[in-house]
Symmetry: C3
Subunit: 302 residues, 3 copies
């Protein structure tokens, strides 16, 4: 869990993902020599703050977004949202500007957002939820489980992955924009027909804590039925506990695969969380474990 | 009309278009040897559930979407929409899940949707309007004229088409997603400068039954004026009855051409219908005939 | 200012930009031989109504959209918007249809739009605000400063530009659609890593007349932080007066760069205006001058 705790402490609000990029690339470069297959690593300015790892001869890619929701300072102590954070009054926020570290509270006054720092903050400074990681026997609770758990899952499956792309994307929480060039690069270097979205979904009346990883039949967008049938059949075969999700809202990096100029099937597979986009996101450790187990099975069998 | 009736009986809700793909590919393979020009056929897993037909040396492509609106089962007898179906209480729906065929009613309780089947339905099952085709001297009325008539029109013009692409797309009713890879393929294999959208539009205060096919000057999006001028001049020259449509909402496969990385002009041309996205869509046979007549003229002259 | 006044008199509502295309190409072809570097000019049907100028070995591209907001006639004296024009009752509008020039007023009756011309206007005719240019010592006021000033700025920097693309795009006010093929062409011919959006923004509580050009840290979309940091550092170094803008709405051609399949950094830099999208858009001449000055500095240093 050391890796997961490290991931949770790093700020990388959409648009400002370079701290997480640096952490991940260091981790990969140090760790990859112990992996079953040594991946080819693609990163640097040509990929902005994204990272791609190519293992063997890929048939399928796993995408995990490394950005988070947050806030940006505007004028006169105003804040505006990045992505769709929960907006509870008095939530603790942190960040840094030219004058030093920032620690303040979110003030939500009839939907208008402010910070309460006595001094002005540089225009355009990103603020994040103050992190508070809580782990017990059953649950992990923290800010930004969405999508630190998806990143963690992607890194776990690197350990013994033989063939596949593992890709760390940016901007997912704020409309996207890295997926199109990532997909173009993948399709030019080692094309794929299938993609799995390693991300965190919602606990709802149909998807509960502790019932296993969720396979999403749809969110706002709809993957192709014949690919879902294949995934679900393999999930049954795997013996890994899973739940089927059916939603009419929400999106993921899968959206940009759907609208890409490539005929790539995609499916969102991830553990469900409660208290979405708040400092108190909560996921059952059992569901996280089944997520990684299912990814391992699928990446070898798809 | 046998072909049209066959088309109307096939379910292919967005995301689950494989039954229609199978029907169409069978029809094309059997029929194409009687066509004036034998097309090259592109289909299969590389194209998901889409089909492309290349006739001669294409200058223009015709796009007809093969998917329909519908519903998907969620949890506890809930339904969610696929595309934007009309939501009248007690509408008859049909489908199939692991337990067998389904025949039930849509219950719309203050905007929340349910089915009334006494048993549970598998999560993520697609349901369609029960089909009821009515044809008299003047009109055809049925579910899914949008876009079975557009598909029918596209197949009619195959009969004597010399140069052009005829393309069957998927997902149009639910945000799209097949057009980008179809356009990429077309532009790599036999590029075009022009596209016509073979789809069905709305009867409004300005577009009436029986006044001929509608040429859309705009919907939510706006084709390039210089291309519209060319189309309208040719339509006048053709002698085919037509109406000019001007709307500020609605979209089509033309939207994805507008936003594609290719400078392709596009225009929506289709018969108007009443009772849009209901089981009782209604189109004048005269307008359908003029649609096919105008497409034949334009495909030879554009 | 002769050039600017000429630009302001030309109608080119989104979708119908050919008059502006013709004016610009004439201007460029006549003027370019006096420029420091002779650009390569790309234009014609393969680029629809867009124009690209390639100077030297580009590292950065400047994009200026040549279309404007406006109105289109529908049925029965109805009008619908193109882009998001201000809708004040009795605003003077002009245009032309098959019967001749049109001069009428906008009637806004509870949000429904009409014209008051005694005769019918051809369906689908574009109407613009009647132009009224007012210039004094401090300000310019007119319709369509957005984006005639951005176009003017782009033409000014052509005078001594050594390396870079200067690109005139279409459709920006109505959802876009030219940027994808412009970017594809640029990336195939002389690729870039950076883009500046030469467009006009809003006077707000944080961005005032006469305080210099605005560098936008975000609108609805968020450029990459590391690129913003580079721009802001260079702006400080330049000594040109500038203001930092932080908004949560609005968009530009930058949006289509963000979602393009290329890892290109982008930033919107432009003078602020009051009375946005009205016939009375107002910009401080000082801010316009600092806009051009900053572009010159950035294009040589980025």
């Amino acid at each position: 869990m050391k890796l997961l705790k490290d991931l949770l402490e790093i700020q990388s609000v959409s648009g400002d993902e370079s701290p997480m990029q640096k952490f991940l690339i260091n981790y990969v470069l140090q760790r990859m020599h112990s992996w079953k297959v040594l991946p080819k690593v693609y990163q640097g300015e040509n990929f902005h703050d994204c990272i791609l790892l190519k293992f063997g001869n890929p048939r399928t890619a796993v995408f995990a977004h490394i950005d988070t929701i947050g806030f940006m300072t505007r004028y006169e102590n105003q804040l505006i949202s990045i992505g769709g954070p929960e907006l509870e009054d008095n939530t603790l926020l942190c960040g840094q500007d030219s004058l030093g570290p920032i620690f303040c509270r979110l003030k939500n006054i009839d939907g208008e957002l402010f910070h309460d720092l006595p001094r002005a903050i540089d225009r355009g400074t990103c603020l994040s939820f103050v992190q508070n990681v809580r782990i017990d026997e059953e649950f992990i609770q923290a800010a930004y489980l969405d999508n630190r758990l998806g990143v963690y899952n992607a890194l776990q499956i690197c350990e013994d992955l033989e063939d596949g792309w593992v890709v760390f994307s940016t901007y997912e929480e704020h409309g996207g924009g890295s997926m199109p060039y990532l997909l173009k690069f993948i399709m030019e270097v080692a094309p794929i027909k299938q993609a799995l979205i390693s991300d965190i979904t919602w606990v709802t009346e149909g998807v509960e804590h502790g019932k296993g990883v969720a396979i999403s039949i749809r969110d706002k967008y709809i993957p192709r039925r014949s690919f879902l049938n294949k995934i679900i059949a393999l999930a049954h075969e795997s013996g890994v506990p899973f739940q089927l999700e059916v939603e009419d809202a929400g999106g993921s990096d899968g959206r940009e695969i759907q609208f890409s100029p490539y005929a790539i099937d995609w499916c969102f597979i991830g553990a469900p969380e409660d208290h979405v986009h708040s400092p108190n996101e909560k996921v059952a450790l059992y569901d996280l474990a089944s997520m990684t187990e299912l990814y391992r099975f699928l990446m070898s069998r798809l």
